[in-house]
Subunit: 305 residues, 4 copies
């Protein structure tokens, strides 16, 4: 097993961007188990004594979704698909969520200034949300990777943006037990990961999930000469496609179109796939708060097998 600690110091150009210009800090071979430490979405900067309001007032650098990486996967080349098995995600014992000024799907309808920070205890797989009226609301922790991807072929894309390379997709299905597929854009892939969420609502409407630092365990595979346009996910029960666009219906259309392409591999014609998905698909609004919005289209394997 190969262990990759967090970067000692964060910088925007090294940790807040998916870029062909960033040099790999680790090289791994397909099949090797890799354990990676990740920062939380706020770069581990917030504490009960130094909340988001204080951070924003302090004039200190703010790192949005800093990632650990890039990891160079031996043998990965443009035109291949990188398969990422998410083996395990270990999260810390508290999470963070915040209302940030000018951020979120309902900014304008409700006040987002000044910043509000919530610290949530995470214990035995349960998240505790203490409301303003002192009520304690609980819900289960289901950790997943908020930001994960490879380098785009040409552009450099901020870690706040999701696109064909992956990035800030905020898809709860990128979780232990599932396999993520990413389109390799440059030699070695240049895989990066960060922004683990202990739980997230569909839409991630205030702009945050339960933000945690974490230790993530992976295994990589390379599907040679298998070209995909957008990220895909496979779980025990479902196959899924992930697209990010605006407006949200275009993300949905794109995800369904990719799923129809995938169903072709199951011997289902375009027309049949189109009708079948209209009758039996599932979809998830991953988020409507990033520069592009993300939708996951899904179909149960037991229907198409």
């Amino acid at each position: 097993m190969i262990y990759l600690p967090k970067p000692e110091r964060l910088s925007h150009s090294a940790n807040c961007i998916f870029s062909p210009h960033n040099l790999p800090i680790l090289r791994v071979r397909p099949g090797e188990i890799v354990q990676v430490e990740t920062y939380d979405a706020f770069g581990d900067q917030l504490t009960p004594d130094f909340d988001l309001k204080k951070l924003l007032e302090s004039g200190k650098e703010v790192y949005d979704n800093p990632v650990t990486g890039p990891i160079y996967i031996e043998g990965a080349e443009p035109g291949d698909t990188l398969a990422v098995d998410i083996i395990d995600i270990k999260i810390r014992e508290f999470g963070l969520a915040a209302i940030s000024p000018g951020v979120g799907a309902l900014d304008g309808w409700l006040s987002t200034s000044p910043a509000v920070t919530k610290f949530l205890k995470i214990e035995n797989g349960t998240i505790h949300y203490r409301t303003d009226s002192a009520k304690d609301l609980t819900f289960p922790a289901k950790p997943f990777l908020g930001v994960v991807g490879v380098s785009p072929p040409l552009e450099s894309i901020s870690t706040v943006t999701p696109f064909q390379h992956g990035g800030n997709m905020d898809v709860a299905d990128v979780c232990p037990g599932n396999r993520l597929f990413l389109p390799v854009g440059v030699k070695g892939g240049l895989f990066c990961v960060g922004d683990v969420h202990a739980s997230q609502g569909d839409g991630e409407i205030c702009g945050n999930a339960v933000e945690v630092s974490a230790q993530v365990t992976f295994k990589f595979d390379i599907l040679k000469n298998k070209t995909i346009r957008w990220p895909r996910i496979e779980s025990n029960d479902e196959i899924m496609t992930v697209c990010s666009s605006k407006p949200l219906e275009d993300a949905a259309r794109c995800a369904f179109r990719e799923l129809i392409r995938w169903l072709d591999e199951y011997g289902i014609s375009t027309n049949d796939a189109y009708i079948l998905l209209s009758l039996a698909a599932r979809a998830r609004i991953a988020q409507i708060v990033d520069p592009l919005y993300t939708v996951v289209a899904k179909i149960a394997k037991e229907i198409i097998a």
Copy 2:
């Protein structure tokens, strides 16, 4: 129990519109059990020998989502909320789905002309989809009401459009066991229902679900002086809000805003509700094929109770 058969003959002005101008064909009191027969989305016109292509070529009138009603509920007045308990939905033994020229979320990406019609056998709660390659795909029937609503206060709205009055929402959560809440716009409410779906994928991307005629059993209640802006649904496990708008993100924003309003009745502040939904809400893309798109926002009762 009161029984309401299908209208003998369909007309656009009587059956394809939610309107304050349509005269009630039945009056019921809150608490009475009502059983209503509904046409399928194609007005029961299609048969294996007379499919959608033939219907479109025939020059015959096409009735989109014809409804049965209006039903006048005694005591319902503008400003009240109509609660509709969906007790049972009995569906026929085959369903219909079609690709219609110029219709659907992927029109333009794939060919939608000429029309393609699929007849699906429904047996013991299982739907059978026979593909072009003779593969038989199956999935469970979960019937729900595609079109259900009351008269708007002033406008008359086609049964192809969803809006604040309900209408063509295509929300799979409007199913037996659940309670639907609608904002009363005119005296008596003028409730109509139709377009039952035996199963539907999120997004309803080709423009159809498994379309069936059905027999639906209801009970109505009136919540006096309880005013809601958009439809709401309550199941055993969740509370849900339903909004229809364009682009799709605006439907989502609206549904989450309404859910925050509802959470206020649970003693949860706007800020807490905003963050909580960002961490733990669920959402459903009901459809992206009607004149306005529909999103359902949901939160589990066990979190907020």
Copy 3:
């Protein structure tokens, strides 16, 4: 010349909706000159002593864009096109504009509550806007019809909404000297008009133009068996199509599509029209504040003649 005064009293169901259910208050023959008095967008209710804030607080009925009509045009039938020559618009000597709570394209970015009302002097064709800092800004008056249309074939549509029947299009090209074409939806057309603007910015971003009452002079023609889908406009210099949809790009796409259809009548093929418009068309964002947004696509006649 036939003279139609303002309705004595306003009501929502008679004056705030385009509907096949409203009875005509005047019948005219094609070719007759008709002079119509119109209310301003606030139903002539606002005065310097009773501004929008006071109106909203008063609990009095608010009439949005009340129209005068319907006018029944002899011989107009579904499938025909109604041509409306706008001969003259006489406006009063002051205009009104307001910021209304929750209204406008930038609601959320800036505060829209409480309501702000501006009274603008109109003198010799010049509009005077007195700023908070007492600066007097001036610009020319160019009156046009904000709301104009016929009854939809089936639905009843509020006077705040633009659609295929016309309605609240807020298109500055609907002005004296130009010819407006509307698709007849019901027998007699049932033409209504109101909401004259002395001037309007593209987008009408705060939700108002320079709102005035007015006296409008028309002449109607009927183009028998000439069917159009959306309103069209012809000026001395340009042909124009008007579509209303959401998101705004869909309104633009629709307007260009209709313009390509129109260019077919000039013997220009679909491909040529598509490229030509890409090289030489003009477009106007009419408004982005109503329930659907409106775009006008235009091409100069001297190019295509």
Copy 4:
């Protein structure tokens, strides 16, 4: 005067991206006159014997909107504004337009495959479009810069995409006599230019304007410590703001918001600016075919002076 020829050979990483990683090929001082040669949008690859269809079939590299640059402007630093006076644009004697497979605002409604290429003669300032039916349509040449911008601060952005740094804005107001303002993102600014259009329709609906190679003459100025968020333009008659987003209404909202910010410099309050623009602003739909859509908001100087 400094002369900068076209790059001898094109590459994607050097000529099809705005990037902080690209090394300057020229250094100039503010005030110097610079003359730059630019490729057309197809990299000067198309000829009557080798049209777009042949290029796409040939397997040769396709360069979309290749730019000349970067030019390093001495003294420009992040937080400054770069002012670019466009002194002159000389264009060649023919232009190109094409329908490209899968490209354009009406793709799906009409067929875009196979590619169609049009060669247009440009003579004495007049463009000649020869239709399929051999009709010769003419319209005036009004050359402007389709792609112009500086490096983003962190990301690298393809020359097909417009954003805060400028890029593929396709704004006809970026023409001789006007001054363009760009937000400096990195030291030296790293200015690039290309994709000159001899004429373009609002919306650029098929994805092309009249594409030409050109010789462009500039002068640069630096406004120290003057920070803008989005490109601005000043002509003799108007001030204008340019924003690119999706959906199109968000580009419009952004452009109007920036124009309200600019009007603050004229002593006009936010509320007054909001209402004034609603009464008297102009807007241009620059394009609805690139990855983000572009709107220009404008106000006449004589109103606000």
